[in-house]
């Protein structure tokens, strides 16, 4: 079953769940718990207990418990991205340096929940759940883990990534320039359906941000209304006080009390809703970025495929020319023939690479969309429920005021 937004083990859940969409069996239940602040000053960090309950065949034991920190989750994420091109790896929560430094309780709690979601999503991904990285993450002991981390940190020293990205970009540029100049018409094309989806995903982010902004505005307005209501209640109370000990004083007093109650309630609820639904929206935005990473990988693979093809073609042309030139040295021809064969091999690899990613992504995008559709439904449903509860409570408050007023009218204060 697709993972719920929050782990089943989490029992504070006022957040959302949704009906099962696919039939992937649930092999993992992972809890991220007990955040503990470690260390001092700039070097301080938070450690979490990661408890796993699993029925996965690769795992020897059904229960595991390890201690991990945010950096460790980042290891898992980055490794998975590296090793699984074309797959949509669940996004890591934000690496907010400032907030981390402040280490506010709220922030830690939000992060804990987000990390829990992350690791459970990984464990429910049809491909990623089988990965050795996940296995290491969930069960490696301290020593083993430290080794891994050290290795990883060595690999990801400053120069590594940016260079490769830049190199790739140059290659792309070069290739585009070439094809521009040569006017090739046989550029590899993406299939149409993918292009539409790709454009859709890219625009989705914008729409999502807008929706988030609007929702925020709405909640703020509700808060404003609550404040205005409180103001009004105070003014009404002052008005009532004019009437010393009379029925009006009582009645206005009731109004003031109840209105304040309702306003406070509304405010608390609105704030809670804002917090509750900020998390899924943010995670959704980050997931889109993951999707975009996968899409970028696909584009790269396509580009490499294209380049390999044009490379092979140009080499073939050269060979043909050479063969047609009388009196050329045999070893020159042989060398060129070797080139052609190598280029051919490269082309086949590139083609395989591209087609693998392409097929992977087709699966992934479908899965992504289906998941998203279901989750969005669930989020919206819970939002509606929360609002319904909010307003129902307020209705109750006003109803009680009505009763108070009636009693005041009937029975005296």
């Amino acid at each position: 079953m697709d993972p719920p937004y929050e782990s089943v083990l989490q029992d504070r859940g006022s957040n959302n769940f949704f009906s099962p969409v696919t039939a992937v069996s649930k092999e993992f239940e992972i809890e991220v718990a007990e955040p503990v602040k470690q260390g001092e000053g700039v070097a301080a960090y938070v450690s979490y207990k990661v408890r796993t309950k699993t029925t996965h065949v690769k795992y020897h034991e059904p229960f595991h418990e390890v201690t991990r920190r945010f950096r460790d989750f980042a290891w898992l994420h980055d490794k998975l991205v590296e090793k699984n091109k074309g797959h949509i790896v669940p996004p890591l929560p934000e690496k907010s340096a400032v907030q981390k430094y402040q280490m506010a309780t709220d922030f830690i709690e939000q992060r804990r929940r987000a990390l829990q979601v992350f690791v459970n999503r990984v464990a429910s991904h049809p491909v990623l759940k089988d990965s050795s990285e996940l296995e290491t993450f969930l069960q490696a002991n301290e020593e083993h883990w430290m080794l891994e981390i050290a290795k990883w940190q060595a690999e990801t020293s400053a120069q590594h990534r940016p260079v490769s990205a830049a190199a790739q970009w140059f290659k792309n540029l070069q290739h585009s320039a070439q094809s521009l100049v040569s006017g090739r018409a046989d550029e590899m094309q993406e299939d149409a359906e993918y292009i539409k989806i790709r454009d859709y995903i890219n625009s989705l982010e914008g729409h999502l941000t807008e929706a988030h902004r609007q929702a925020g505005r709405l909640l703020r307005k509700e808060a404003d209304l609550g404040a205005a209501l409180t103001e009004f209640a105070s003014a009404a109370e002052l008005l009532g006080k004019q009437d010393n000990e009379g029925p009006m004083r009582v009645a206005f007093g009731c109004l003031c009390t109840r209105a304040n109650e309702v306003a406070a309630l509304s405010r608390a609820r609105s704030e809670a809703i804002a917090v509750e639904f900020a998390a899924p929206l943010k995670e959704f935005a980050r997931t889109i970025k993951s999707v975009q990473v996968a899409m970028a990988d696909r584009a790269s693979a396509l580009s490499a495929y294209s380049q390999a093809k044009s490379d092979l073609d140009s080499k073939k042309v050269r060979l043909a020319k050479l063969r047609g030139t009388p009196g050329l040295k045999e070893d020159k021809i042989a060398e060129t023939e070797r080139d052609v064969n190598e280029a051919d091999q490269r082309l086949r690899n590139a083609k395989l690479g591209y087609e693998t990613i392409r097929d992977t992504m087709r699966e992934e995008l479908n899965r992504f969309q289906k998941e998203r559709a279901a989750e969005m439904s669930a989020v919206l449903r819970d939002f509606a429920l929360a609002q319904a509860r909010n307003t129902a409570e307020q209705a109750k408050g006003w109803g009680e005021l009505l009763r108070d007023l009636q009693q005041a009218a009937v029975g005296g204060s």
């Binding site: 089943v8 209304l225 003014a235 009006m248 509606a384 129902a392 209705a395």
Partner: protein, 596 residues
């Protein structure tokens, strides 16, 4: 709500569907409304002196509401048919109604029990010591109405006034210049004994209202006369549509205020104003009335000679001068007059009125802010709805592109449907909040009505004070003249003819002054009596109206929240994929059936 599985899909647990829990909550609130029919606006659950006839008046208010829906403007506009003072008015008839007491609630108890009865029992009151226990000497109303038990119902329906159809007219004014002015149709239906009509309609222009107002202020000193909207030369010329609409509403509120005042509505001037067809300026009776305010020259002091106690515009100025003079005299000559207890209490009442005005203004302002927030919330929901609609269309486009039968297409269509649902939910919520904003403002209109009447109450009290000052001035003058007279009489006999003449003049003056003093004193007694009546009446109507107002306010908000909760709940169910059967009592849900 348990975390695991709110829909009970995973089995294994007593997880309660949050939707069911919610039902309970919302249902509870509903119960409060049972048997009270609080859902409709005019029939408030706290219908303190409810009667069938009042329900009619209530309906009138609804008409007023629907006609004047743009309530969210400045609070200085009385949009709805007159508030507090316009209600029933038999209070004057009860014996000894102190201004503040607990026993009024006993009366209210009775009234609540007979919510729909045709006649309500008047509150039985006993004096209780507090604030203003001014000795209320018996029934002091000048309504001359029948027994105390006719019921407020009958009174309230006695005389009803509408103002409609502003019309532009061209004419020439006194200087012979072409002018444009507006007339308004004034329709009256009344069963008031002195003013009986089944439905007469006349056309009046603002200057005629103004004249009526001046006459009222003259003839009914001491009563609280509703405020007339200000004369406005420029705006009348420009004849802006808004201006006309507001002015019409103001004028209507003004006439209704007079029509429901037990004393004011007996006025001849009112009768002429309401019933006399044709232009009033050609009507002889009206012209006579006009003269009383027109400014016949008055002698200096005691310009109060005209009965029933009016002075002219000039004499008002003169009376003002008198006050100054008397103040000077008092401070220069002798002891400051000790004000008697009644006077003191009345002056204290005036201070309270001023305080009340200030407080009411605060309330009005914060009410306005609150309503504008509601309105703004409604607008935001509209925006959200619109954006969700666009999002839905966009998802639909994707689906069209990739084909409905692909997986991607299927997901897209599901998301499109969700967005569409949210869009509709937002649109409905938007409508709800917009309506609520208007209704809330309407429910709180009593605050505004009392806010604008406070200055008039202060003015009424000040009339009495002015009268007292005039008395003092006259008394001082009289004393002075007496002294002169005695001196003259006791002087030497030389120049006797001059002396006699002087004595003669002085004696005349003294006589005249004594007459004036008598009239003044009578006026004072009358005005004071009226002041007391009015204070009582004001207090009681204020209590009742504010009580009703708070009931309305709570009801409106409870209704809003309830409807909102229902809508959200329905929306939640839709997202959960459940089939929706519209609950019979939910206002906005019916529309759902038209969607998808």
């Amino acid at each position: 709500m348990s975390a695991a599985d709110p829909l009970g899909l995973l089995g294994g647990g007593n997880t309660k569907d949050p939707l069911d829990e919610l039902d309970g909550l919302v249902g509870q609130s509903l119960n409060l409304f049972d048997g009270q029919s609080a859902v409709k606006f005019p029939e408030q659950p706290v219908d303190v002196f409810g009667t069938t006839a009042r329900a009619t008046v209530g309906n009138d208010n609804v008409i007023g509401h629907s006609m004047d829906l743009d309530l969210l403007g400045t609070p200085s506009i009385p949009q709805v048919a007159s508030g507090g003072l316009a209600r029933s008015n038999t209070y004057g008839q009860e014996a000894e109604i102190p201004l503040l007491n607990d026993e009024v609630q006993v009366g209210i108890t009775h009234a609540v029990e007979e919510v729909q009865a045709a006649s309500s029992s008047s509150p039985q009151n006993e004096p209780s010591p507090s604030g203003y226990h001014l000795v209320a000497d018996g029934p002091s109303t000048s309504t001359g109405e029948g027994g105390a038990n006719t019921g407020h119902a009958a009174d309230a329906a006695l005389i009803r006034v509408w103002i409609r159809e502003p019309e532009r007219m061209d004419g020439t004014n006194k200087l012979g210049m072409r002018t444009t002015y507006f007339t308004y149709l004034v329709r009256t239906e009344s069963q008031l004994p002195g003013l009986h009509t089944d439905g007469s309609e006349v056309r009046r222009r603002f200057s005629e209202f103004d004249a009526l107002h001046k006459i009222m202020k003259l003839q009914y000193r001491g009563y609280i006369i509703p405020p007339l909207p200000e004369k406005s030369f420029i705006e009348a010329k420009i004849a802006h549509e808004d201006f006309l609409r507001l002015r019409r509403a103001d004028l209507q509120a003004y006439l209704r205020g007079i029509a429901s005042h037990p004393a004011l509505r007996e006025s001849e001037a009112l009768k002429l104003f309401l019933l006399q067809p044709g232009e009033l300026q050609y009507n002889p009776a009206w012209i006579v009335l006009l003269h009383s305010i027109g400014g016949s020259t008055e002698s200096s002091e005691g310009g109060l000679l005209m009965s029933p106690g009016g002075g002219s515009a000039t004499s008002k100025a003169v009376a003002g001068l008198n006050s100054l003079v008397s103040w000077v005299r008092h401070n220069v000559t002798n002891s400051r007059r000790e004000l008697d207890e009644d006077e003191q209490q009345l002056r204290h009442a005036k201070d309270l009125m001023r305080d009340l005005e200030r407080l009411l203004q605060l309330c009005c302002e914060s009410a306005r802010v609150m309503c504008s927030h509601m309105d703004s919330l409604g607008s935001d929901l509209y925006e959200l709805g619109r954006n969700m609609g666009m999002l839905s269309k966009w998802e639909e486009t994707l689906r069209a592109h990739v084909g409905s039968y692909t997986e991607a297409g299927f997901s897209a269509s599901k998301r499109a449907a969700d967005c569409k649902q949210l869009s509709f939910a937002s649109a409905r919520q938007h409508g709800l909040w917009k309506t609520a904003s208007v209704k809330t403002a309407a429910s709180l209109v009593a605050l505004h009505d009392y806010y604008i009447i406070m200055p008039e109450a202060v003015a009424a009290l000040e009339e009495r004070e002015r009268c007292l000052d005039q008395i003092h001035a006259l008394e001082a003058e009289l004393t002075a003249k007496h002294t002169d007279l005695n001196k003259t009489n006791g002087a030497s006999k030389t120049g006797s003819s001059i002396r006699d003449q002087r004595a003669y003049t002085l004696t005349n003056t003294v006589d005249r002054l004594q007459q004036q003093l008598k009239v003044c004193r009578d006026n004072y007694v009358l005005i004071k009596k009226r002041n007391l009546e009015e204070l009582r009446r004001l207090h009681l109507t204020r209590e009742r109206d504010f009580h009703e107002m708070m009931g309305n306010f709570s009801a409106v908000l409870a209704q809003l929240m309830q409807a909102s909760a229902d809508m959200w709940r329905t929306t939640a169910r839709q997202f959960a994929g459940e089939a929706v059967t519209p609950p019979g009592d939910s206002a906005g849900v019916g529309e759902l059936q038209d969607d998808d």
